[in-house]
């Protein structure tokens, strides 16, 4: 029934053409500025220059690290939460999903302000820590990488959960029990059955979270107290302070490549365990 190529193209092309025309074309033209040599012709000197600065290298690595960390933690929590939600009965499922969605509608700026209240020296977390005797003096959580991490995680975790819910929902019913009786513990069930069968969901969720972290501006700026430079901060500086759109397009392309690489890597990870390994 699914053999007709023309039919398939007719279904897929409108979306592809739309994205190509209104999106890819202009972005590619803009990004090509980063490769233009001053006297005409093409060059990658803008990129080599960018990476020759030790500051930029450090920012690049930090961005990568924070993005990866948030993505991984979001994936772990996201799977647990999505799995729990999917196993709820239908009525509850909708309500809990609603709760997950709720925070998404709050402006990221307002959310970071709420974190200031929670993580501050007199905030709930510090009060709790002190009451529980975990720490004596208030901890400085705010304006640190930890705060950025918490803020980003809260910002993007719902995206991961929601992407995973839809992937988990239609998983073949008996696949998990089958793996269980074949001796898989929950970790192995996850790694060998759930992950590959929900690959699409975790790839989209992971890409959303990772890209979100890379391109988040306000949360790192406010919660990190601008002490922790990220690539997106540099990009904003180029645009809003230096008006240097060429430099901005260089950083933008680096961010795009990072996201794209993350996307591919995620796909790999999700599929890696399932290569047919037949000794011949």
């Amino acid at each position: 029934m699914f053999q007709n190529r023309a039919e398939a193209l007719a279904l897929a092309l409108p979306a592809a053409l739309f994205a190509a025309a209104v999106f890819i074309a202009p972005v590619v033209i803009l990004l090509s500025d980063g490769f233009r040599a001053p006297g005409g012709g093409w060059t990658v000197s803008a990129y080599t220059e960018f990476f020759s600065s030790s500051l930029n290298q450090a920012v690049f690595l930090r961005t990568l690290k924070l993005g990866a960390l948030v993505t991984i933690v979001a994936a772990i929590i996201g799977y647990a939460a999505a799995f729990a939600i999917v196993s709820l009965e239908p009525g509850k499922k909708g309500k809990v999903t609603g709760l997950i969605v709720l925070p998404l509608m709050i402006s990221p700026v307002a959310r970071t302000y709420a974190w200031i209240v929670i993580l501050g020296r007199t905030g709930i977390v510090n009060q709790a820590f002190q009451a529980l005797g975990i720490s004596e003096a208030p901890l400085r959580i705010l304006f640190s990488e930890t705060a950025i991490f918490i803020g980003l995680l809260q910002l993007f975790l719902p995206l991961m959960i929601i992407s995973l819910i839809s992937a988990l929902e239609n998983m073949p019913k008996d696949a998990i029990p089958a793996a269980r009786v074949l001796g898989a513990n929950w970790f192995q069930v996850f790694w060998k059955v759930i992950l590959p069968l929900t690959k699409e969901g975790v790839v989209i969720g992971g890409t959303l979270v990772f890209t979100g972290c890379l391109t988040a501006y306000i949360t790192p700026a406010i919660l990190g107290g601008s002490k922790v430079l990220m690539l997106e901060t540099l990009l904003y500086q180029q645009v809003t302070v230096s008006n240097n759109f060429v430099a901005a397009s260089v950083i933008a392309l680096i961010l795009i490549v990072m996201s794209f690489a993350a996307n591919i890597l995620l796909k790999r990870v999700a599929t890696a365990r399932n290569k047919t390994r037949i000794a011949r």
């Binding site: 209104v22 803009l30 969605v101 402006s107 209240v117 992407s163 391109t215």
Partner: protein, 259 residues
């Protein structure tokens, strides 16, 4: 049993984490104080009342709603067929198509806004509203395609064949047996798309024009200088509204006849 505790504990922790800041915001909306604080200082409705008196919020709210709902719907209309084709057919170049339609999520918004302004709006004399609409639709498209694909991928295709054999057209089979079973995916795509669009700031920064502004851009401008709890109140109102929209969308996609 261990398994039975897993669900409530996980959900409890995750929801607390996600909702915590939201509760602060809600508390602040009803507080009498001038800043966010927990516990809130006194009770008053003045911040909520203030939201409704800010005129510029109203126009940009309508604009944002239009972009978010309209953009999400158009993206779904473009995206669902595409994801269907990608997951059901053996298409040459499927990977390329997938990459093209998913590209918008990985491009920093500020670059999107700028390049659309320079290479679409200016050369083609496209109106700002239309440009915004195109941009938002393109931004939502990846969610529509990828999230829906995720559900479709695991849905067995023989039920569609069964529907066709029982006299349904291909399209009919899609609506009758595929759609109800990927409702979760479509809902997810809708939510993600709606929220992305509604919170979109960087793209809209450059694609705002005389008389055309989106709500988050307005809110950021407002918060640039003052952050009084009215912004919190607005956020809380929006969040509750979004639940309403999700609820309506669920109904709309719910095919209650079948459930």
């Amino acid at each position: 049993m261990a398994r039975n505790l897993f669900i409530p504990i996980t959900l409890g922790l995750v929801i607390t984490f996600l909702i915590g800041p939201f509760l602060i915001i809600v508390a602040a909306s009803f507080s009498a104080g001038e800043t966010l604080a927990f516990p809130p200082q006194g009770f008053s409705l003045r911040w909520i009342a203030k939201v409704f008196t800010v005129e510029s919020f109203r126009d940009s709210f309508y604009m944002s709603m239009f972009l978010a709902i309209g953009g999400t719907l158009v993206a779904l209309i473009l995206g669902i067929p595409a994801s269907y084709a990608l997951s059901r057919y053996k298409l040459p170049g499927a990977e390329t198509i997938r990459t093209i339609v998913s590209a918008p999520i990985i491009v920093p918004g500020i670059i999107v806004g700028l390049s659309l302004l320079r290479y679409i709006v200016v050369p083609f004399q496209v109106g700002i509203t239309l440009a915004l609409f195109l941009a938002h639709t393109a931004l939502i498209l990846p969610y529509a395609v990828r999230v829906v694909s995720a559900s479709l991928g695991n849905l067995r295709s023989d039920i569609e064949e069964a529907a066709v054999l029982l006299g349904s057209s291909r399209l009919g089979a899609f609506f009758r047996v595929v759609l109800p079973n990927i409702r979760g995916g479509i809902m997810s795509a809708f939510i993600l798309g709606f929220v992305t669009s509604f919170n979109q700031v960087p793209v809209s920064l450059f694609l705002s024009g005389p008389g055309v502004r989106t709500l988050p851009v307005d809110m950021i401008a407002y918060m640039e200088i003052v952050f009084d709890p009215s912004v919190a109140a607005l956020s809380a109102l929006l969040a509750f509204m979004s639940i309403g929209i999700v609820f309506i969308a669920e109904r709309f996609l719910g095919f209650s006849r079948y459930v």
